[in-house]
Structure formats: structure tokens, C-alpha cells
């Protein structure tokens, strides 16, 4: 009797409960994974583009099937994978022809990454950050980003100092520097012997304008260790405090160097 009752009630109750179960569980199931968000950055050293890493594994290569497509001849179709595993970052080289480097060390199969490491795929260079640093990108962007601003900003050559592009070294006692009068950015020069200004790529201060000669002017130390400026037979010429430089001229604090309208201030705290 009670069995009949259970059946009679159950056949109405069970479908209702079953529907509620599937709805309540199914609702949760439909939600799926939370968005990963940005968990790291790869910054292109050539143009300053920063690419967010939004998944735990990111493939890099020339193929369109890769997450980050690098259209360089020296990059293999499927070159490398950046992965986050157990809280650590790992760079895998996936049988690339030209190799993958982390801070000049070639990656054999895989290598753990640290914040700020330099990654080289073929000849394309990148910086890896877990979070975009506050200080560096500003200099970065002034120096490298937005090619249309090149004519108003300095382009520091990075070739001679790979891995530390903007500031060659920490400030030494003297604290001499060159200041971009437009942007206010500083270039510490204490540990340098000469600073080439010009249009050529090996210039330390590169001003990418047609009117600027490839080897336009040179700031260097004289025999006494004082900084002097000389014009390197440029077409447009160089001005120091409004006067044309005809011979190596010593620099003093707050001197203004002018190259085709671009002004650089020499600072000597002493």
C-alpha cells in the first residue's frame, strides 16, 4: 500500500526534481571557465609593441596558426611556446631552425623565465614581463613607440647595449647627462667616452630626419676628461647656445646643443 503511494507520488515528483537538478547544476556548468585575463607581457624591442599573454600557453612563430605571429624570415613557422606552469614561466623551443635565446643563452627544449628577461626568436628581440613596469615603459615609449613621433624624439641605438637599452648604466658621481629639451628625458653619459649624434643607425642619439647628417656631431671627452662637442662636417651644421660649432668646443652646465631644430641640453651638476 505504502509502495503504491510512493510510486503514485514519485512519478509526479521525480520529473520535477530531475528538472530542477539539471537546471541548478546545468546553470553552473554553462558558465565555464573564468576569463584568464592578462597574466604577462611580451614587448617587442623593435617597435615597443606590447603583447598581452592572455592564456597559459602562447605559441610564437611565423605561421598564422600561432597566437603571436612574427613575420620575420629568421623565425620558424612554429618557433616557440611561452607557458605558465605551476606558477612559473617556461619558454619552450619547438624545434625552431634559428633557435631561441633567453638573455643570450640558447634554449635547449625549455628554460624558465624571470620577469624582465630578454627573449630572442631568430633575430627578433622581445622583453618578457609578468607585469608592465612603471618606469621603463615611459622611457620606452618616448624612445621607441610610435614611429611618427620619431622626428621629435631621440632614438637611442640599442645594438651596442642589448639588454639595457635606455640607460646604459647607473648614474655615477659626476652625474653628467644629456637632456632632450622636448621630452625632458635624460641620457646619462658618465660611463661613456663619446656620444654620436646623427641619422645613422649606430648613432647614440639618433635623429631620424633627412636634414640631419648620418654622422652629424660628436660629444666626447678631451684629454682632460672634459666634455667637448664638435661638428662632423654636417650639411646643416650644429649650434651651441645659438653659435655655430666650427671646432671642438668645451661644454658647460646648461649648454644647449641644437641640431636641425632639435635641442639637447648638457647638464653638469658639478
Amino acid at each position: 500500500m505504502s509502495l503504491e503511494l510512493i510510486t503514485a507520488v514519485g512519478r509526479w515528483l521525480l520529473p520535477v526534481l530531475a528538472a530542477l537538478i539539471v537546471i541548478s547544476c546545468g546553470g553552473v556548468l554553462l558558465r565555464g571557465n573564468r576569463k584568464t585575463g592578462t597574466i604577462g607581457y611580451v614587448v617587442n624591442a623593435a617597435n615597443g609593441d606590447s603583447m598581452a599573454l592572455r592564456s597559459f600557453e602562447t605559441s610564437i612563430g611565423r605561421s598564422k596558426l600561432c597566437d603571436i605571429v612574427l613575420n620575420y624570415n629568421t623565425v620558424s613557422r612554429f618557433h616557440a611556446v611561452i607557458a605558465r606552469r605551476g606558477g612559473k614561466w617556461i619558454l619552450f623551443d619547438t624545434n625552431s631552425k634559428t633557435g631561441t635565446y633567453v638573455n643570450k643563452d640558447r634554449v635547449v627544449e625549455k628554460k624558465f623565465l624571470e620577469n624582465g628577461d630578454t627573449l630572442i626568436f631568430g633575430n627578433a628581440m622581445f622583453k618578457f614581463y609578468e607585469e608592465l613596469p612603471e618606469v621603463i615603459p615611459q622611457n620606452y615609449q618616448n624612445a621607441y613607440a610610435k614611429p611618427e613621433q620619431n622626428e621629435h624624439t631621440f632614438l637611442y641605438d640599442d645594438r651596442r647595449t642589448p639588454g639595457d637599452i635606455v640607460i646604459p648604466q647607473m648614474v655615477r658621481e659626476a652625474g653628467c647627462n644629456l637632456e632632450n629639451c622636448i621630452t625632458g628625458e635624460l641620457m646619462e653619459i658618465d660611463d661613456m667616452d663619446e656620444i654620436l649624434i646623427g641619422r645613422s643607425e649606430e648613432s647614440h642619439i639618433r635623429i631620424n630626419r633627412q636634414s640631419v647628417s648620418k654622422y652629424h656631431a660628436l660629444v666626447s671627452r678631451n684629454a682632460y676628461g672634459h666634455w667637448v662637442i664638435e661638428d662632423l662636417d654636417s650639411v646643416a651644421g650644429t649650434l651651441l647656445n645659438g653659435v655655430e660649432v666650427n671646432e671642438p668646443t668645451p661644454l658647460h652646465d646648461s649648454d644647449i646643443i641644437e641640431v636641425c631644430g632639435y635641442t639637447i641640453k648638457f647638464n653638469d651638476p658639478r
Partner: protein, 452 residues
């Protein structure tokens, strides 16, 4: 990995396919469940001994036609009633597809889509049929006592649509089922209820339809006269023979005497293929009647590409035309009602919304009613049908290679006996007048005793 993430979108296609499949399945269950349930192997409904659940079938008088006693299916106590109602009640095994136990299984089981067969398990669903066991037995006796072994008798209330008898021969006693070899002529189509599923050449009974067509299309038909010299020649060399040389006949007496010459003349010379076809289809030919889900045989009529001689034969019911007895009785009902329409035949008591079969205008129906009554008063004689105010038409249907079938279709005009009857005797030879009318009278007299 974003590339891989994007690929997952394609996977939803599989879920959609699965959903489509489920939808198709749900639709199939919705449309086919009833059919799927009513399978002879369904152990919820049938056990080896018949319907599970003990549903009982009653006749209109409350007599048990079949019930379950101790897990066994028990039929009516009277062997004659059992034989007379065999085809209506049906068998548990489902050989007789039009039998109530098979055809009305869903009513008997109380099946519905929500509860399935659950409610059947709780309480048996009984069903009362419109059949009168006693009247059926009378019809059965009337046929078999004269030695007829194949045919059918149907009785139908043209006011309510109830079928009171549908006796089909050959039959057998289901409680003592004989060995049946359906390849033997003795058992020819034994499992078929001839009243619902039989198809017969109508013979002279079709003259009712020809008359209707003539009344509809020929203005002065009632005033015309016809000369019968024993045959009607359509064109040289092809003639329709008559049963006698009737001499000069009015339209009415031509129908009364069932004069082939006159009707062949009317059909071939005065009516067209289209007119006859229109009237026949108006009367429900080439259509089926649905009796509580039992689909009756389709009465067939066609005069496509027919010549005058074909039309002449058609006019006397001897062409390709075929009629189902249940349909014939409905035609009688439509005329008897004088409205041209009649309630759809039904086998289950207290069926609501049974529908109406509308065949012809009330004007034509009234005229046909008058003509059919004159058949009896002028020709068959009321003495053949005492106290019945009977109307009707006999027929003899020639069958190739065998004795002809004889038929009678008629009805009583009595207000207290609104019954129509059809009698079909297969390969009986002779005439409807001599074969069928005594049987019709015996059944109608019994009905008169029972219901007045």
C-alpha cells in the same frame, strides 16, 4: 592557445545535432506513441490469454460480450451471440484488426500520453458497444438457417449513428476456435469484418445513385417514360440485358421493377460521365468512413475515359463501381433522414461529437425516400415487411466465374424504429428479392419486438 579556444566554437555544432535528434525523437513519441503502445507483444496490455487488466466489453443492453475471469478472457455465454459478434468484439490475439479488443485497445487501456498505461493498472477501463447481441444473433441465424455462409448484415440507427449489428460470415466460436486454414474457400477472409472492410459490386442498389443523378440533372425525369423490350442497345452490337421485357414504364416504375433497360438508357443517353461521377462522389464514393478509428473500406467509383456502354453498365451498378456495406447503410440513412445527411456510424455508446456525413440535398433525399418507399409498396409488397413501413432497394451483382452476390439496402420509416439495414449475401445466386428481403425482414421484425 587562443587558436585552440576558437576551435571549440565548432564543438557546439555537435550539441545542436544532439538536440535536433532529441527533438525528432520527442516529435516521434508525440505522434506515434499510441500506435507503438498498441502492439500485440506489449505485455502491459496483452498476456498470452488476452487483455491484461480485465477490461470488460458490454453490448447496448449491458450484456457482457467479453470479460476477464481468473485471468482468462471469457466471452458471451451464448454461442450464437459469440459467433454473431465475433468480428465486432474481436480476439485477444489481434487477428481481427477491426475487433474492438484491438481497434479500441487505447480506449480499453485508458492510454494517454501523460500517464501511459499507468491508469490501466489501477482500474480496468470498460467499454459499452452499441451492438445488440440478441439482434446480432437473430441476423446470424437468419443468414445461416438459409444456408448462406458468406456475407454480412448491418443494422444502423440513422438518428443516432449507432451500429446495432454488424454480423459477418464466415465466423467461428471464439471459445471453441476451430482449425482455420485461410487458404480454404470455407474460411475466405474469415478475420475480416465484411460490414466494415468488404467491397462489393452494388448491382441494382446503385440505381439509387443513378436516380439521384437523374433527379439532379434531368428536369422532367419524373414525367419521362421508357420502353423495355428485354434489353437496351447502346450502339449496334453492345446492349444491356434486362431481367424481363417490362414494356412501357414510368421512371418510378422503372426503379420499382429495377428495369435495366430504362436505367441503362438514362445513364448512357441522358447523363454524362462527369454528372454521374459528381453524384457518386457527393454520396461519398472514393472516400472512407471512420468508425471510432476503424477505417472502412473505400467505396470505389470511376468513369474515367468511359464510353456510353460503360456508362450504361455503370447506371445499373455493374461497371467498376464497388461499395462498402457500411457506406451503403450510411447512404440509406441520409435518405431516410430526408435531410441528405446522417450521423457518422459509431460502435461505442455515448460517443460525443461523432460527426455527420452529408451526402445530398434534402430535396433530392425526400424524393429518393418517396421512390424507395414505392419500391416496397409497388413491387416488393408491404407483406414482405409487416408493420415496418420499409423502404429499400435490392440488387444482384454479377461476379465473374461465380454465382452472383445478392444485396438489399433499406430502412424503416417508422419514427419509433429509425433503423437502416444492409444485407449482402456472397455468391448466393438468385435475387435480392428472394434471398435478402426475408433476412432483412427477420432482423427488422426482431428489432421491432425489441425496441417498440
Amino acid at each position: 592557445m587562443n587558436r585552440i579556444f576558437k576551435r571549440t566554437k565548432w564543438m557546439y555544432f555537435l550539441a545542436i545535432l544532439f538536440l535536433v535528434g532529441l527533438t525528432i525523437l520527442a516529435i516521434l513519441f508525440g505522434t506515434h506513441a499510441r500506435k507503438w503502445v498498441m502492439q500485440p507483444y506489449n505485455k502491459h496490455i496483452y498476456s498470452s490469454s488476452g487483455l491484461v487488466g480485465g477490461s470488460t466489453l458490454y453490448d447496448r443492453n449491458g450484456d457482457v460480450l467479453v470479460e476477464t475471469v481468473d485471468g482468462q478472457r471469457k466471452y458471451n455465454k451464448n454461442a450464437t451471440v459469440r459467433k454473431a459478434t465475433l468480428h465486432v468484439v474481436g480476439d485477444a490475439e489481434g487477428y481481427i484488426s477491426t475487433g474492438a479488443q484491438t481497434a479500441f485497445a487505447s480506449q480499453l487501456t485508458g492510454y494517454d500520453l501523460i500517464n501511459g498505461l499507468y491508469s490501466m493498472k489501477q482500474k480496468p477501463h470498460d467499454l459499452t458497444l452499441t451492438i445488440d447481441g440478441g439482434l446480432s444473433a437473430t441476423a446470424y441465424r437468419a443468414m445461416t438457417e438459409k444456408g448462406y455462409d458468406k456475407g454480412c448484415v448491418g443494422v444502423y440507427n440513422y438518428k443516432t449513428g449507432e451500429i446495432l449489428a454488424a454480423v459477418s460470415l464466415p465466423t467461428y466460436d471464439i471459445e471453441n476456435k476451430p482449425a482455420i486454414d485461410t487458404s480454404k474457400d470455407r474460411w475466405d477472409a474469415v478475420y475480416m469484418n465484411r460490414f466494415f472492410k468488404g467491397k462489393y459490386t452494388p448491382g441494382s442498389t446503385f440505381k439509387v445513385i443513378t436516380s439521384a443523378c437523374a433527379l439532379e440533372n434531368i428536369d422532367n425525369i419524373m414525367n419521362q417514360s421508357f420502353n423495355c423490350n428485354g434489353a437496351y442497345t447502346v450502339v449496334r452490337g453492345s446492349q444491356v440485358k434486362c431481367t424481363a421485357s417490362h414494356g412501357r414504364l414510368s421512371f418510378r416504375s422503372a426503379l420499382n421493377h429495377s428495369c435495366n433497360s430504362a436505367f441503362a438508357a438514362i445513364a448512357s443517353a441522358q447523363l454524362t460521365n462527369d454528372q454521374l461521377t459528381a453524384t457518386a462522389e457527393e454520396f461519398g464514393f472514393n472516400d472512407t468512413i471512420d468508425v471510432n478509428g476503424i477505417e472502412c473500406a473505400k467505396s470505389y467509383f470511376s468513369l474515367e475515359d468511359a464510353y456510353a456502354i460503360d456508362r450504361a453498365w455503370c447506371g445499373i451498378g455493374q461497371y467498376e463501381t464497388l461499395v462498402c456495406p457500411c457506406h451503403e447503410i450510411a447512404i440509406m440513412g441520409a435518405i431516410a433522414n430526408k435531410t441528405g445527411s446522417t450521423p457518422n456510424p459509431t460502435l461505442i455508446m455515448k460517443t460525443v461529437n461523432i460527426g455527420t456525413l452529408s451526402y445530398v440535398s434534402s430535396d433530392i433525399a425526400t424524393q429518393l425516400d418517396d421512390l424507395l418507399r414505392s419500391n416496397v409498396t409497388n413491387y416488393y409488397s408491404d407483406s414482405k415487411f409487416p408493420n415496418l413501413k420499409m423502404c429499400g432497394k435490392t440488387g444482384t451483382a454479377q461476379v465473374s466465374g461465380k454465382e452472383p452476390h445478392t444485396l438489399f439496402a433499406g430502412y424503416s420509416q417508422r419514427d419509433d424504429l429509425p433503423l437502416a439495414i444492409v444485407v449482402v449475401l456472397e455468391n448466393s445466386g438468385g435475387y435480392g428479392l428472394t434471398n435478402c428481403i426475408p433476412i432483412a425482414n427477420a432482423v427488422m421484425q426482431d428489432a421491432l419486438d425489441r425496441y417498440t
